[in-house]
């Protein structure tokens, strides 16, 4: 688990795994100490979608919240009651600098602290591929929150498929520079894989948004081919 959360904080620092898109280099998430707080925002594309899915005034827990970019945005624009869990010391310090309440720890210990349904939404952005026990974390998210919101990179994207076919090598996201044999390890999966998985564990997808290179795309059938990133709101199937 700790390995996975290390990967998480790194992934945020480097970039969202926008597959095959060297242009989409995101700004570093960790703010310079003592830098003035930003007054205008340009959220990472998947975080902007997540922010849209969360209603004003909700209670939100962000897992692996980095420097608190998302919660800070939600607190200031949607008056949510926001909390975060973050593994890195620098991340926690940056969150406190933004005036946020954040608990340092890995996802397992952090989530276990919270009583059932203590949040409306529990957010996990761009972290799923790094989890060693995604099923457990997802079910914990839906124990602690009424809803879970996840964003993850889609290895089913056509260029990934083409790369495997043409080069015979497992495709790698530009945001995930580590080769397969080096920690932190990632698990490649696709939108279709994830949808099947949700069905298996009795979780229903209540909202879905697809992005390609940071832009929203309107697709129904071939999303697994065209989307680089998916954002899902999830609920336990009644």
């Amino acid at each position: 688990m700790s390995q996975a959360t290390v990967a998480k904080s790194q992934s945020r620092k480097v970039q969202s795994p926008e597959l095959q898109s060297p242009k989409s280099v995101l700004p570093a998430r960790v703010a310079t100490p003592h830098s003035p707080l930003p007054t205008s925002y340009s959220l990472r594309p998947d975080l902007a979608v997540i922010a849209e899915l969360i209603p004003a005034g909700a209670k939100v827990l962000d897992l692996g919240c980095g420097d608190g970019e998302l919660i800070h945005y939600l607190v200031n624009t949607k008056q949510v009651k926001g909390r975060g869990i973050e593994l890195s010391e620098q991340g926690v310090l940056a969150c406190v600098r933004r005036g946020l309440s954040v608990r340092q720890g890995n996802l397992n210990e952090g989530l276990a602290d919270y009583p059932e349904h203590s949040f409306d939404y529990v957010v996990l952005s761009q972290t799923l591929p790094f989890l060693s026990d995604a099923k457990k974390i997802l079910l914990e998210m839906l124990r602690v929150g009424q809803r879970a919101v996840v964003s993850f990179p889609n290895w089913g994207y056509w260029r990934c498929r083409l790369e495997l076919l043409m080069s015979g090598r497992v495709p790698q996201a530009p945001g995930l520079p580590q080769p397969w044999y080096e920690a932190p390890r990632w698990q490649a999966f696709t939108i279709t894989d994830f949808a099947h998985f949700c069905q298996q564990i009795n979780v229903s997808i209540c909202q879905e948004v697809y992005l390609a290179h940071g832009r929203r795309i309107q697709v129904r059938k071939i999303k697994n081919l065209l989307a680089t990133t998916a954002v899902f709101a999830l609920e336990k199937t009644a």
């Binding site: 310090l93 969150c95 406190v96 005036g99 954040v102 608990r103 340092q104 276990a112 602290d113 203590s118």
Partner: protein, 431 residues
């Protein structure tokens, strides 16, 4: 309470400070948790900075086992040693005395001006010794509360402290939640563990074993149980360091020796260091106070009376917590703080928690100045924003004084003390 800036105060110090004394329970005795009573009770305290018009900028600092009310500044122009938390307390520092009114008081049972076993019992005209009633962390905090009442402060903006100071901080949050807006328990625990009780007992046994201790009746005898107290301090001191910090600081180096002497003189640097510090300690601390204060820590268990820690913080839902532990602190290991955080989450409190990477062991809360300044400073900035805390009115001669001080800084060149000196002075005030 008089604070003046002098040229001798460098590094944005609060300058020369003097302790004040507040006495209560002169008519009605102060009732202790044990059922015993004490009176009159005097509390020695120092204050830094100025109270604002709304009385909303007050911060209480709680000291550790061997600390005193002297948290910052100097007691005189020839005083070489600043208060125990001077690095975090002063103009522009984490506890910014330009913005906050900071109070630090000596605990009851202590030996730095507050009523303790070395004080004269007015009923008998001689020092209390072991007839002094056993006090608890809860008693110490209720005494502090009397002081806060006396200073006209309805609600403290924050209560902060490490180690035993952190226990007092948690006591404030659990049992006086209506009097605090935020708390910072640092490198501490909500209940003293068996290992901690064990170390306390070793220290106490060392004191009991000193023939000069004489069942606590030594004040008029001319001989103090220094040998016992020194051993107690050495044991304590070891627990404030870490394996890594001892390797780093002392290694196996010999003190002014080329090779082993094959004899029982002080040979290793670490031996010499412990001896030097514990001897210093006996000159400034009272053995009976050591017994009373360690006993107070041993009794500390916030999970009581229900056994559930979360239940004890039920009233603290509106209190903001900044909980800090240190990775190499084996005396109050991080799991103590994590348990506390879990209980606070269940209680629905607003909690920020950080386990700071450090090799300094328990001492880290005084030594990791840079991280602590960032963390505490940011947390206090947030409190100021959220609670709308106004700055105190400016002192008229402030500006000139600051300039004098800055000039002093320049003339003195680098004012950061060497790490050994920091370690040493931290050790002096630790537990």
């Amino acid at each position: 309470m008089t604070i003046t800036q002098t040229q001798s105060s460098v590094n944005d110090s609060v300058g020369i400070v003097q302790p004040d004394y507040f006495t209560f329970a002169e008519d009605e005795p102060f009732c202790l948790e044990s059922g015993a009573t004490l009176g009159p009770v005097t509390i020695a305290y120092e204050t830094y900075g100025r109270l604002n018009a709304e009385h909303s900028n007050a911060i209480l600092i709680c000291h550790a086992l061997s600390g005193s009310a002297h948290a910052a500044g100097y007691h005189g122009t020839d005083d070489r040693k600043a208060g125990w938390w001077d690095e975090c307390l002063g103009p522009g520092k984490a506890f910014d005395t330009d913005r906050f009114f900071v109070i630090c008081s000596n605990v009851i049972g202590g030996c730095y001006g507050s009523t303790g076993p070395a004080s004269i019992n007015p009923a008998t005209g001689v020092a209390y010794g072991l007839s002094f009633p056993v006090v608890t962390i809860g008693d110490m905090v209720r005494a502090q509360r009397k002081l806060i009442d006396h200073l006209g402060i309805d609600q403290l903006l924050c209560v902060a402290g490490g180690s035993m100071g952190g226990m007092q901080v948690l006591e404030w949050a659990a049992h006086h939640a209506d009097r605090v807006k935020a708390v910072m328990p640092l490198a501490t625990t909500a209940h003293h563990s068996p290992m901690l009780i064990a170390f306390s007992e070793v220290g106490r046994q060392a004191i009991y074993a000193d023939p000069n201790w004489n069942n606590g009746d030594y004040y008029s005898k001319g001989k103090r149980p220094d040998a016992g107290l020194a051993v107690a301090r050495m044991v304590g001191h070891i627990t404030y360091l870490s394996d890594a910090s001892m390797h780093q600081k002392f290694g196996r180096r010999l003190q002014q020796l080329e090779r082993y002497g094959y004899e029982f003189n002080t040979e290793f640097e670490i031996e010499s260091y412990l001896k030097y510090n514990s001897n210093n300690f006996t000159r400034r601390f009272d053995a009976n106070s050591y017994l009373y204060i360690t006993k107070a820590m041993d009794y500390f268990d916030l999970a009581q009376p229900t056994g559930a820690l979360a239940a004890s913080f039920a009233a603290a839902e509106a209190v903001k917590f900044l909980v800090v532990s240190f990775t190499s602190d084996w005396l109050y290991p991080s799991y103590h703080s994590k348990e506390l955080v879990t209980a606070l989450m269940v209680a629905g409190a607003d909690v920020t928690y950080l386990d700071i990477q450090s090799t300094w062991g328990h001492d880290a809360f005084l030594l990791e100045v840079e991280t602590m300044t960032r963390l505490l400073g940011s947390f206090l900035d947030r409190l100021v924003r959220e609670e709308g805390v106004a700055r105190p009115e400016k002192e008229i001669r402030r500006q000139g004084d600051r300039e004098t001080r800055r000039q002093g800084d320049k003339e003195n060149g680098s004012i950061d003390p060497a790490l050994l000196e920091r370690l040493r002075s931290a050790a002096e005030v630790m537990a």
